[in-house]
Amino acid sequence: MKFMMIVKSAERSGRPPQALMEAIDKLGQEAVKAGTMVASGGLAPTAVSTRVRLSGGQLTKVDGPFTEAKEVIGGYAVFELKSKEEAIEGAMRFMELHKKHWPGWEGETEIRQIFGPEEFASKA
C-alpha cells in the first residue's frame, strides 16, 4: 500500500533548526534503507506559488502568497508500507523529531493512502 504523508504548518514558522534538518535527513535515509520511502520532496514557499481555481463556472488564477491560509503544505513523502498502522508509526517518529528539535513549532502530518490497482480490485 502506498501512502502520502503531507506535512502542514504555519508558513511563517521561520527556518527549521539545523539539528532538526539533520535528524529528518537521518530518518529519511533509514526509510530509504528499509525500502519504504519511494519519493519525497519539500515545497517552495507559497509566495512563488499559483492557484488555478474553478468556481461558479469561472477559472481564476491567483498568485501567492496565500496569507489567509493558517497552515500550508511544506513537504511530502510517499511510502510503500504494509499497513496504515505502519504509516502512523512513521509519522509519529517524524513528528517526535519536531517535538524534540523545534520547541514551540506546531503543525501536522496528514496520512493519505494512495489508491493502487489492488484497492480498485478489492472494490470491484
Binding site: G35, V38, A39, K82, E85, E89, G116, A124
Partner: protein
C-alpha cells in the same frame, strides 16, 4: 489509546523493527532459530506490557533491549545446563563469554552488516527453495506464518514446518553468520536474488479474486530488493533486479481489464502505468549500468523492460534495441523461452520474415514441443506474410495445446480469420 490500537501499533513497530532485531540477535547467539525465538519473546513482552505502560518513546530500542535480556537468560540457562553436563566443556563457555561481550559492540555497531548476513543466511543454498522463501519473508519481510501461507495458497502448518525445518537445517549445517566473499559471493548472491524474484513473480501472478496477501508479495519483494540495494550498493545485479521489479510493478494497474482478463503489454493503456515506479526502475537500471561491466541477467531483462517503459506509445518502442538486448540475453542465459521472445523482437524490428527465419530453428526444440506459444507466434508471422493456409494450421495447433479457455478462443478466432482471407 485502546488495547486494539496498541496491538495494531505493536504490529507496525514489529514490521519496522523485527528484521534488525533478529539480525542483531543472530550475531550474538549465532543461531537464527534461537534469535527469532528471543525476538518473539520480546514481542510477547511488548504485547503484555505496552497496553498498560503505553508505547515507549523508542519502541525498537525497547524490543532490542528486552530481547538481549532474554538472550542473557538463555546463556545463563545454558550455563547451568553446562555445569550439569560437564561434557559440554570449555569451548561453549568461551563462546558464550565472547557472545556476552559482543553485546557492547552490538549497541553502536552498524546493524546493516547484520542485516546483510541475515539475508544471506535466509537464502542459503543448503535450504530448499520453499524454505528460503518462507524464512526470508518471515525474518526479513516481517510476515507471519499465516500471511505467508495465504500468499502462497498453502496450509499454515506447511509453512510453519518449512520454517522449522529451515532453521534446523541451518543449525545442523552450522552455517556461519557472515557475508560470503570472493567467488562464493556470486553464487550466494544469485540465490538471494532468485528468492526475491520468485516472491515477486508469485505476487505478480495473482489474479483479481485472490486474497490480497498474494499481490502484496510484489511489494514485499520490492521492499526486500530495495533493502538489499542499500546493503550491497556495489552489486550491479541487485540494482538490475530492483529495476526489473520496479518497472514490472509499474504496469500492475494496466495489465488486466475490468473483468480480470489479461491485457498484453502492447495493448495496455500506458497512462495507467505508474510513472513513479518507472522513474525508480530507470534510476536503478542506471545505477547498475554505472557500476560498469557487462550487464547481468536481471539488468538485461530490466533494460528490455525499460525500452517499453520509455516508449510513450507502443508504436514508439525501440524494437531494434530490444532485439539486440535479446540477442545478448540469449547468449548470456540461453533458454527456449528467451529464444522465442527473441524471434518476436526481431520480427517487430526487422519484419515478420526475419522472425520466421529464427523461429523455424526452434521448431525442433524438444522443450517447446507442446508449448502453445510457439505455433501461436509462428502463426502470427505467417499471417503477416499473408501465408494464410499455413498460419491457420499453426493457430489451430496452438489452440489444441493451450489449457487456457480464453486463449483457445482467441487462437481459434485467428484461425477462422485466416480461412476467410
Amino acid at each position: 489509546m485502546t488495547a486494539t490500537d496498541t496491538h495494531r501499533a505493536i504490529d507496525a513497530v514489529w514490521r519496522i523493527e523485527s528484521a534488525r532485531i533478529i539480525a542483531g540477535l543472530t550475531r550474538i547467539v549465532r543461531d537464527v532459530g534461537i534469535a527469532e525465538e528471543l525476538a518473539q519473546d520480546a514481542l510477547v513482552a511488548a504485547l503484555e506490557q505496552w497496553p498498560e505502560s503505553g508505547i515507549p518513546d523508542n519502541p525498537g530500542a525497547w524490543l532490542m533491549a528486552t530481547a538481549k535480556h532474554r538472550a542473557i537468560d538463555h546463556f545463563r540457562r545454558n550455563k547451568l545446563l553446562e555445569r550439569k553436563h560437564e561434557e559440554l566443556g570449555r569451548e561453549l563457555q568461551t563462546q558464550q563469554e565472547m557472545a556476552v561481550a559482543n553485546f557492547e559492540i552490538a549497541e553502536d555497531g552498524d546493524i546493516s552488516d547484520d542485516l546483510l548476513r541475515l539475508v544471506f543466511i535466509s537464502c542459503h543454498p543448503v535450504l530448499s527453495t520453499e524454505g528460503r522463501v518462507a524464512l526470508t519473508l518471515r525474518l526479513l519481510g516481517g510476515l507471519t506464518t499465516d500471511e505467508i501461507a495465504r500468499a502462497f495458497l498453502v496450509p499454515e502448518p506447511t509453512v510453519a514446518q518449512r520454517i522449522v525445518r529451515a532453521k534446523r537445517t541451518l543449525s545442523e549445517a552450522k552455517v556461519p553468520f557472515e557475508v560470503p566473499r570472493g567467488p562464493d559471493l556470486v553464487a550466494r548472491l544469485s540465490s538471494v536474488l532468485e528468492v526475491i524474484y520468485l516472491v515477486f513473480n508469485e505476487g505478480y501472478s495473482a489474479t483479481s479474486g485472490d486474497d490480497w496477501m498474494r499481490p502484496a508479495l510484489c511489494e514485499d519483494a520490492l521492499r526486500l530488493g530495495r533493502i538489499l540495494a542499500e546493503l550491497a550498493p556495489n552489486e550491479p545485479e541487485v540494482h538490475g533486479l530492483v529495476a526489473l521489479m520496479e518497472i514490472q510493478a509499474s504496469r500492475a494497474g494496466a495489465r488486466a481489464g475490468p473483468g480480470g482478463e489479461p491485457i498484453l503489454l502492447l495493448d495496455q493503456d500506458r497512462a495507467r502505468w505508474d510513472q513513479l515506479l518507472i522513474h525508480r526502475g530507470l534510476a536503478a537500471l542506471e545505477r547498475a549500468e554505472r557500476l560498469g561491466g557487462a550487464l547481468g541477467n536481471y539488468a538485461m531483462q530490466a533494460a528490455i523492460a525499460a525500452c517499453h517503459a520509455r516508449a510513450r506509445t507502443a508504436a514508439e518502442t525501440d524494437w531494434r534495441r530490444i532485439a539486440s538486448l535479446y540477442d545478448a540475453l540469449a547468449r548470456l542465459t540461453p533458454s527456449p523461452i528467451v529464444e522465442l521472445n527473441r524471434t518476436v523482437a526481431h520480427a517487430m524490428a526487422f519484419g515478420p520474415a526475419a522472425g520466421l527465419e529464427l523461429i523455424d530453428a526452434l521448431v525442433s526444440e524438444p522443450s517447446l514441443k507442446s508449448y502453445h506459444l510457439l505455433p501461436s507466434v509462428r502463426g502470427d508471422f505467417l499471417f503477416k506474410l499473408r501465408r494464410f493456409a499455413e498460419a491457420q494450421t499453426e493457430f489451430e495447433r496452438g489452440a489444441s495445446l493451450t489449457r487456457n479457455a480464453r486463449e483457445r478462443e482467441l487462437l481459434l478466432d485467428r484461425a477462422r480469420a485466416c480461412a476467410e482471407e
